[in-house]
Every structure is written in structure tokens, then in C-alpha cells.
Subunit: 459 residues, 2 copies
């Protein structure tokens, strides 16, 4: 969990310094409205339960959004799990014993009455507001009624609905790694440093979900708990810092829009000795994209105290056992997805007309190639196009068939979903077995022989 | 959702014919205890929240279990999404507007007092029990206290905790497809037939979760809603029936243990015109592995009635619009995983000693190759082994390094996790650049030159 969110979640944003106002102006190139509209219109992201009037803070991913999420998650797994020799992936349950959240501080951190600033939506502990003035935006007398508010979703597990059966939807995936740390040590005898990684849903009952998928009530995290020797944390931290940048580059995220924020002492969670928030210039303003935190041995020590079981690591050379320290890089799939789309969103002019397109790198593009028969009511064109479609699908897998509307309309559609290449089969194709290949970024068209098509697209 | 579970979920198992007793005796080769023990001991599956005493009905997947799940899900996506031209993947939220469950019947289906048979654990509507005798196992007077029981986990979304903010964790992924059917039609203009596919978590507050991960409170589904013209459902159904078998074979699931059960009229949900339960000989008995159901236009019509919005499909040839019918194949990741492990579990004798190994096909094996230095305290062996490890990792990705314990112990470990090949670096390796390759299934060992190693393993 990133530091800003963590502090808010733990009810610690007393000074308000980490709370994010609804929007800030930056030099963002695409407005939030345009992004939301493209996502809805083109089948990336729909409002959750939309047909029933929606459910605030939830989002459904359409075919292209699902594929983009799958691409991001796969790159992450490749980069941080498969790419490291000392990484163990786990997949813990969303429903956990409530003692997990008592020990971690998530359950008890919410016992104070909270208010929300109606102006900037910062959520604040009532007893920390002086002079009735919001410490975030400075507005006076703009607070909601105070309320006991726990950001964890509560439910009951088992047939009896009482205090004993209370459970929560996890507000972070991180505790799944800490609670399984001992299992992995016992089964795999890893050397230090080693990491536990997890991808999965997490839930927070945000008072005001906002800014599209940026702050939702249900979201997907990709987190690592990287266990290190206490005196070696700085090297690991630095290694992770560099790798985070390298990973963001792999996703095509604009590095000019990524900013490191060294979280100052007074703003960090008390147990963290160093935290970097990686911020991004989102359409709604500069805001936290992901976090990298050095959490000392805070979490494992909490578990040790709560369970009475030793969380010590026994070095294989027989030296003194100790509780390892932890570096935690914490990614949110949806925020990365927003950053990928924001970075890719492009507008240019073609023959005096404005064109919108997503300049996605090949590994992110939900569709790699689209195939068009020039006209849909000419069986000979359609048949030839199907042949080409099948051939390409075997090689590129994510190939889209499109015969709806005129060619110009189809190009616009593929541009807007970021398809790098479109292949059109026309009457000349029937004569000389060539097709037109159009590049998304240049809009240039080239005639290519069908037998050279795959190679030409690859290069 | 498969028919048996569906009926139970909907409180319809009045006649008890679909409820499953706790265990049945069949010719299973591995006991449930042995399977659970292997999974725990080798890092496949742990009890959820184990270190805090557990949370009944939840399971955490360790490094090998996570990888096996990932392998199963990836095969499913490859087979049923990427492999079909008319399939659209979506990813809907777990938290949905409660109207979804009112319209689907899941919310209202639970208004009757339920009892559970203490002998066979069948859950029954109290008013359907005659003569105080369990219609499933025949025991008398063995019922729990009657209870209003909704199998959906309830929570509240938003800051106010009242009836209006009630929401449920989805008990099936299927409704996410039905609620997004119109969005996909509007964005992608698909021809019929076309399918919506989804992989994701679902939750059911089982009174007695049991039989390892078979009946858990949190589980992962892979479902398709395949929309067809009403008069063409039979062809599609048959196509799916065959594809289900082909898919199970890809996972290495023993086809001798798979049985089709044509669910008779009186046992099917009222809206279904045909359902096949694919049963499997699990260690705990023959039980439902997955379901294939023809659901008519029941779900879309429910949504149409509840929202007043048309769910009709408009054929492109201008013929009369209609509400499509649906074929629903419904897979559970955990049940497939259990079937994969059960099919792979093997015991043989080697030199008079019993050996347990998992005969997993290559695409399922969490680890493809393991690399051992013969001795861990000889730097020259370790160095050479690291070289080989790196070379193999580039090609096979999931390669495990193991230098813990003697070679025999390491072989047993790799056999039990189903690693097809193990490569040992010994003193001879330092002299002639050859290594020993051992095959899991035959335990035969061959000396292979390092430069031929990848090719030799591939073949």
C-alpha cells in the first residue's frame, strides 16, 4: 500500500498533507472527460452495474479494457516474478480472519469520528481540525457530519451473524504475503533476500470514489514484500527504485509525467524509514501512481506479537536469527492502466481533420492487427479477408475482424483503440494477392504481398 | 453456475437430489488426506489465514499452487477466448448493484427457513422435509435448527450502513456477462453466435465448506455466456460439449474419471432445457467438476423486465429482433486444479521403495526443470550449476534451483511437485561439460552435453 493511501486508510492523515483534492491543474494533454468517453465508447471501461443504474466506485472492464489489464498484469508477472530468481508468487484469499486486521492496525485505526471536507473531499479526523478550517484546502465550515467510519467492507462468514463471525474484504493484498511468510520459508528454504508477490483484488469503502478508476472501491493490486537483512535495505530499495522506472517504461508510460516524491519524515507512517511516492500527471492532476516503502520489520513483528509465533529467519550459516526487514513496492493495475492510456492518448491532424489515436506499444495494444474487407457485401472480398485474418490470428493472436461501416470509420475505430496495424483486402488483392497495410502512427499505407505480411508487420 | 450448485444456491434443492453428501466411496486412487498433505507440505495450498487459526472455507495458494492456477487459467483463456473468433472477455466488478441479484432470483430465493442434515450436510428447505427424514441420506431427526439463510455475503457500500446501501459479493461471475451484454453489442456489433467470457472470484457463504478446496466460501470461476439464435442452441450445445472434453484433456485430466450426467427434467432449474453435469471421481467421491447448461433467454429476459430496457438482438439482415438464448459452460478453477492433481497423483516402486510423484503434463507443471549442484558447499559445482540454471531459465522460465539436502531428498521433492526434468551438475560436469538429466516419470538418468541440454529436454 502506498504511503498516502496507507495513511488515509489508517486514519492518520491528521495533517491532511497526503490527502488528495478532487482535481489539480497540470499540463495534462487529455481531459478526464475525453478519456472516460473514449473508454466507454470503445469498450474499455463501463460503469459497474450500469444497466441497473450503477454502483458508485465500481467499474466493469469491457473486452479491450480486460485485455489491457491482462497485458499489464502479464508484464508485471514477467518482470517482477519470472524475471527475479528469488521471487515467490502467492494467491491468498480476499476474506481473511479479522485478527489479521486487528494486528495490522487496520481495524483499530478507525475508531475515531471522521469528517469529510465538502470542498476538497479530504477525509479527516474530527479531533485534528483546528479553527473549523480544512487543513488541506483551507475552506472553513465545510465539513460533513462526523461519523465512525471504517474503510474496510464488513461481512459475516458462516451461518451466524454476530460479532464473532465478522470478517472484512482485504483493503490491501500485502497482509496475504506476511501471513504466508512462514509457510514459504518452511516449504522452500529461501535465502535472503527473497520476495513474496501477489496480484489480486482489494476493496476500500471510499466515502467519495472519484476520478474515474483512479479512486474506486474495488481495485486490483500487484504487490511485493521483499524480505532483506536489516542492514542491507538501502541497496534493495535502490534496486527497486530503478526497476520501477524500467517497468513503467516497458508499459509505454511517459517518463516525463512520472515524478518521484520523497515522502518527508513527518508524513510517513511511523514505522517506515523511507518512502517514495511515484506520482504521475493524470488527466485529473498529479497524483500517486504507486508507492515504494521501506517498512522495517513492522508487519512481521506485529504478527509475532499477535500470534506468539516466531517470525525470525534462521540464517543457514548458523548466525543469530532475526526478523527480516521489508521493502514494499505497491502497484495498482487501474492506476497503471490510466497512466498507460494517458501516455498513449494522441491527437494529430490528418488532411485538415483532427484524429484521436492511442499510441500504445505493441505489448500493451489489446488488438495487434485488424483485418478489413473493403466491402462487406462482396463474398469474394470477405472470403479472401477471412483467409488473411486466419493466417494473422495464428501468429498474432489478438486480431480483430471489422466489416462495419466505411473504411474511414473503421480506421478511426482502430486508431482509437490503439491497433498498431490495419490490413485491408480490396479488389486488387484478388488479382495480385497483395493487401494494404496501414500504420496507426503514421497513417501511411503500403501494399504488401500476403506471403510477406507477417514479416512486414513484425518489422 | 452448474446446475447442482445453482439449485442449491437458489434454495431449490427441495427434493435433495442434487445435494452432495460429505463423501462417497469410489475407486479413487489418492485419498483426500494424502492430497491435502502433499499440497500443504510442498507449497501448493495452505489453509487461509492459517497463522491466525484459519478462516473456514478459505484457502491461500502457495508458490506452486499459484503457478498451477495461473497455468489452468491461461490454458482456459487460450482455448476458449483466444481460440474462438467470436469471444469477448470482460472483467466485471465483484461488488454489484443489489438489483442484479433481485432480478436474477438470487436475493429472493432465500426467504425460506433452511435446515442442514447433520449426517450428510445436505441443505434443505424445512417445508419440504416429510416425516422428519432426510431425502438425501435417509437419516431421521438429524436436522439443524431452521434458519433464514442467504448464501450471498452481504456488505454495505458507502458511508451509510442501512438497507439502501446493502450489496453482495457476487455468488457467480455469470451476471457480469448478462449486465454487460448490451454494452458489448453497442460497441462491437457482433454477429450471432458470440460469447462473453470472464474469469474471476465468486463467493458463497457455505454452511459447511468441506472436501478441501472443492467446496470453499471463496473460489474462482471461468464462465462463458454464449448467445445463440433460439433454434440453433442444440448445435452450439453439442459443440461446447465436445470442446469441454478437449479442454479437460489439455489439462491432463484423466478421461476415465470424467462422467457426463444428463440432468433429468425434474432436477433441472425450471428455465433450463438441457444441462450436463460433468462429474469427476474426486478423492472424496464422484462430484460435479463443471456444468454445461442451456439457459434459454431466462437471464436476459429477467434484466429486460427489471430495467425496462430492451435486450433484443437486431439481426443485421433486418429480420425481426429477438432476445438471444444462452449456452453456459461454467468452470471452477479450484475443482479443475483438484482434478488435475488427482489425475497426476501417482505412486510406484523404485528399488523396493515407494515413490509419490505428480505426472503433470508440461503445460501444467509449475516448475519445468530443476537444477541441482551435487554438493552445495563446493563453489566450483555451484558456479557451474548457476550457469546451467541461467541458461535454462531463459528458455523454460519456470526453473527451480535446489541445493537443500541430499540428492535423493531433492529428487523426491521434485517428483512430488511434478517437475518433469531435473538436471544435476557433478564433478564430471566440470571435466567434460556434461550433466545428468533425470526424467520424473521413468527416473532414468542420462548424461547430456550442456550445449544439447535445452533440445534434449524439449524432446
Amino acid at each position: 500500500v502506498s504511503s498516502g493511501d496507507e495513511k488515509q486508510l489508517m486514519g492518520q492523515e491528521a495533517d491532511g498533507s497526503q490527502a488528495e483534492p478532487a482535481s489539480r491543474s497540470v499540463g495534462a494533454d487529455v481531459s478526464l472527460e475525453d478519456l472516460v468517453s473514449l473508454c466507454k465508447r470503445r469498450g474499455f471501461i463501463y460503469q459497474g452495474s450500469e444497466i441497473y443504474g450503477g454502483l458508485a466506485g465500481t467499474w466493469d472492464y469491457g473486452p479491450l479494457g480486460s485485455q489491457l489489464k491482462r497485458n499489464i498484469i502479464n508484464e508485471w508477472l514477467k518482470f517482477f516474478v519470472d524475471g527475479w530468481d528469488d521471487m515467490y508468487q502467492i494467491d491468498a484469499a480476499i476474506l481473511m480472519n479479522k485478527k489479521v486486521w486487528e494486528a495490522s492496525g487496520h481495524a483499530s485505526g478507525f475508531n475515531d469520528p471522521m469528517v469529510e471536507c465538502n470542498n476538497c473531499h479530504a477525509r479527516l479526523r474530527q479531533d485534528h481540525i483546528e479553527n473549523n478550517k480544512c487543513p488541506v484546502c483551507g475552506k472553513e465550515n465545510e465539513f460533513s457530519e462526523p461519523r465512525q467510519f471504517n474503510m474496510m467492507f464488513k461481512t459475516n462468514v458462516g451461518p451466524v451473524e454476530d460479532e464473532n463471525s465478522v470478517s472484512y474484504l482485504r483493503p490491501e493484498t500485502a497482509q496475504g504475503m506476511f501471513t504466508n511468510y512462514k509457510n514459504v520459508i518452511d516449504n522452500f528454504y529461501p535465502d535472503l533476500p527473497f520476495g513474496l508477490a501477489q496480484v489480486g483484488k482489494a476493496f476500500r469503502n471510499e466515502i467519495s470514489p472519484r476520478d474515474f478508476v483512479f479512486r474506486a472501491r474495488e481495485f486490483e493490486q500487484m504487490e511485493v514484500e521483499y524480505f532483506v537483512e536489516p542492514n542491507k535495505w538501502e541497496d534493495s530499495f535502490e534496486h527497486w527504485r530503478k526497476d520501477v522506472h524500467a517497468f513503467l517504461e516497458k508499459l509505454g508510460i511517459d517518463k516525463e509525467k512520472v515524478h518521484e516524491l520523497e515522502v518527508p519524515d513527518e508524513d510517513r507512517a511511523h514505522y517506515s524509514k523511507r518512502t517514495i511516492d511515484f506520482e504521475f500527471d493524470f488527466p485529473h492532476g498529479k497524483a500517486e501512481l504507486l508507492g515504494l516503502a521501506y517498512r522495517t520489520n513492522f508487519d512481521l513483528t506485529n504478527i509475532q506479537n499477535a500470534t506468539g509465533k516466531s517470525m525470525e529467519y534462521r540464517p543457514k550459516d548458523g548466525s543469530t536469527p532475526f526478523v527480516p526487514h521489508v521493502i514494499e513496492p505497491s502497484f495498482g493495475v487501474e492506476r497503471l492502466l490510466m497512466a498507460v492510456l494517458t501516455s498513449a492518448y494522441s491527437v494529430d491532424e490528418q488532411n485538415g481533420e483532427q484524429r484521436t489515436y492511442l499510441k500504445l506499444p505493441l505489448n500493451m495494444a489489446p488488438v495487434k492487427v485488424a483485418v478489413f474487407p473493403l466491402l462487406k457485401n462482396k463474398p469474394e472480398l470477405t472470403e479472401k479477408a477471412k483467409e488473411v485474418y486466419k493466417m494473422l490470428k495464428e501468429e498474432f493472436n489478438f486480431v480483430m475482424w471489422d466489416d462495419n461501416g466505411n473504411i474511414g470509420k473503421r480506421y478511426r475505430r482502430q486508431d482509437e483503440i490503439g491497433t498498431p496495424y490495419t490490413v485491408t483486402i480490396d479488389f486488387q488483392s484478388l488479382e495480385d494477392n497483395t493487401v494494404t497495410v496501414r500504420s496507426r502512427d503514421t497513417t501511411e499505407q503500403q501494399r504488401v504481398e500476403v506471403q510477406n505480411l507477417s514479416g512486414s508487420i513484425r518489422s
